[in-house]
Symmetry: C2
């Protein structure tokens, strides 16, 4: 581990990382509550303007002086085929736009998500940690952040991605299993071998071990974790910390929509699936009408589909209709506890300690 990340992580009391959840959930209030309770809070820069990211960071700094992270989305390569597929998907969704009374969004609106401008801000006003999703930044970017005193984490879903991130100079990896809610952070979205096809994505414990044996970086385990006993499990398997998203989604400090929070434990939403329906990239959410009807036909064209369909989600939420919202959720969603985030961090730490004490291996009884 680099001295940067060693120094950072030694300042975290509990090995509990709040996952960055783009789209509104990861508000500064949520990150601050996690940080103040001894975990690592995260802001999500994805889908935000560079200036909005800067404002959130400044606001978070007024709420806590503890270390925190900021997550960036990597720009995506798009080709003419993607654009043609998005045009076809737009036609497919015509009835949906009519139903909710909105116009399709401009697929190109997000550009490259302001990647360069966000990096420039993060070098101007360095933060303790920056993590990346949907790809691996260049060696130069990682070196510049390290030079600014910022620890870097790259999200990986395979051994090949882990090796690429180590080679590029990342300080640590976020190892994301297929159980995770929201987007899979796969570096290249390949429709022929992706986790949205036939359960091909790797479960967390199997991925963690394969990555651990392939690289020498510290690993943060993510995917379906909701309890301290599960955090104990990933630490026993060699992770240095656990990252939890869905567990924090229903906290009062989370900016997730109330319908989304309630759906997590609503028996009407018994299961999750990976889908490209909402964004063009495999992401796990509660199965609802929109996902069931459009998921199988949605193209691999992120973030074009995200911006195209964004007005639908907004209109559905405004109408109180969860059936066309993106109800991102990990496989552990039924175990959601709608506690204040600081209280939840404390409870997870207590459960972790109890699991450690109960762990007397070598006996099967």
């Amino acid at each position: 581990m680099s001295s940067v990340s060693t120094t950072l992580l030694s300042r975290i009391e509990h090995p509990v990382v709040q996952a960055p959840m783009a789209g509104g959930a990861s508000r500064p209030e949520l990150a601050a509550a996690v940080c103040e309770a001894g975990g690592l809070g995260f802001l999500a820069a994805g889908y935000k303007t560079p200036e909005a990211m800067r404002e959130e960071i400044r606001r978070l700094r007024t709420l806590t002086d503890r270390p925190f992270g900021v997550n960036l989305f990597m720009p995506q390569e798009l080709d003419g085929d993607s654009r043609a597929a998005v045009a076809a998907y737009r036609e497919r969704l015509a009835d949906e736009f009519a139903r909710y009374g909105v116009e399709p969004g401009d697929p190109e609106r997000g550009g490259d998500d302001g990647y360069d401008a966000k990096l420039a801000i993060l070098l101007e006003e360095p933060v303790p940690l920056v993590s990346f999703t949907f790809g691996c930044p260049s060696r130069r970017v990682l070196a510049e952040l390290a030079g600014a005193g910022t620890a870097t984490v790259v999200t990986v879903t395979s051994v090949a991605e882990a090796r690429a991130a180590e080679e590029a100079g990342a300080d640590a990896l976020c190892v994301q299993g297929v159980e995770a809610g929201g987007h899979q952070g796969t570096h290249h979205d390949d429709p022929l071998s992706d986790p949205a096809s036939n359960g091909a994505g790797l479960g967390l414990l199997t991925l963690l071990e394969q990555v651990r044996e392939a690289v020498s970086l510290p690993l943060i385990a993510a995917g379906g974790l909701m309890r301290g006993g599960q955090i104990a499990a990933v630490l026993a398997a060699g992770a240095v910390a656990a990252q939890l998203g869905t567990a924090f989604l229903a906290c009062p400090e989370s900016g997730a929509h109330e319908l989304h929070k309630r759906a997590l434990t609503d028996p009407a939403f018994p299961r999750t699936e990976l889908t490209r329906a909402f964004s063009g990239r495999p992401a796990r959410g509660l199965v609802n009408r929109f996902m069931a009807e459009h998921g199988p036909q949605a193209p691999a064209a992120y973030p074009l589909v995200h911006h195209l369909a964004s007005p639908l989600r907004g209109a559905a939420a405004a109408a109180g209709d969860p059936q066309a919202m993106a109800l991102w959720a990990g496989q552990g969603h039924r175990l959601t506890r709608a506690l204040p985030a600081g209280e939840l961090v404390g409870l997870l730490a207590d459960e972790l300690a109890a699991a450690r004490d109960a762990f007397v291996p070598g006996r099967a009884a």
Copy 2:
């Protein structure tokens, strides 16, 4: 835990269970080597005649006097739709039968897999443990086995299945994550909500926690486990033991075909998927030509498809062609170690002890 299973499990030195692998891998020699090394060996009665099962049990008793298990397949309910779908699939496979020069197998050949006759033998000549796959036996069957001094384990892949098995009187559960090689032991194969569609199956750690909170039975964790560190993880998460199949598949004592053993670490087979192509029920194997070409169209009609396509697999194996064999493998297949089974059990126990010693939770650095 019942006194039966308490007594049984207290006689196992290491919390390592060798998964029953129907189709030839789980020979008495493999089970004996695991038992003699202090794990729990298993015979697979599935696809065998009742008499062949009896002979294997008798042979195993000549090789070890330690406790072992026998796995039974639950009979399946089939309807007219299943049979029509199998007829259509037979037409689809016509070129395959011609290519390998074999006639289609009789889909009905397996009947109910000799379930009643096998149970009668297991009550006549009781064994230490019997586990069940593809369903939950009746309360009466579980009580009769308990009366004979046999511990019972039911394989589950969901909370609902776990509750049903506890209610029926099982002594323990085998909690199978989506990472597992071979068949998912789901009780009812529902094409609309099964793990072969869009990564809907639950990863081991998330399933284990949800089951642990729903029932009070001892849990054996299965799915993608290849190393002692992963066994430490599932014990830390509350399991009493770990069940490993793929890890034992390439052992010299395993009866798996040599092409199957070699494929586990062959870079030409980089990934697994769940498929109904070979049997009519979701099962995880290395992606090969047959799976890729026929998986999406294979019907939910187990075991009819298994018996229909069985001659193809035999002919492909005889021809040295792994592309039409059922190369069952869990998601950890790349970590296969082709060691003698007893040596592997010892190594897993050493790794488990090392992971326990290295486990210093509560710190993120």
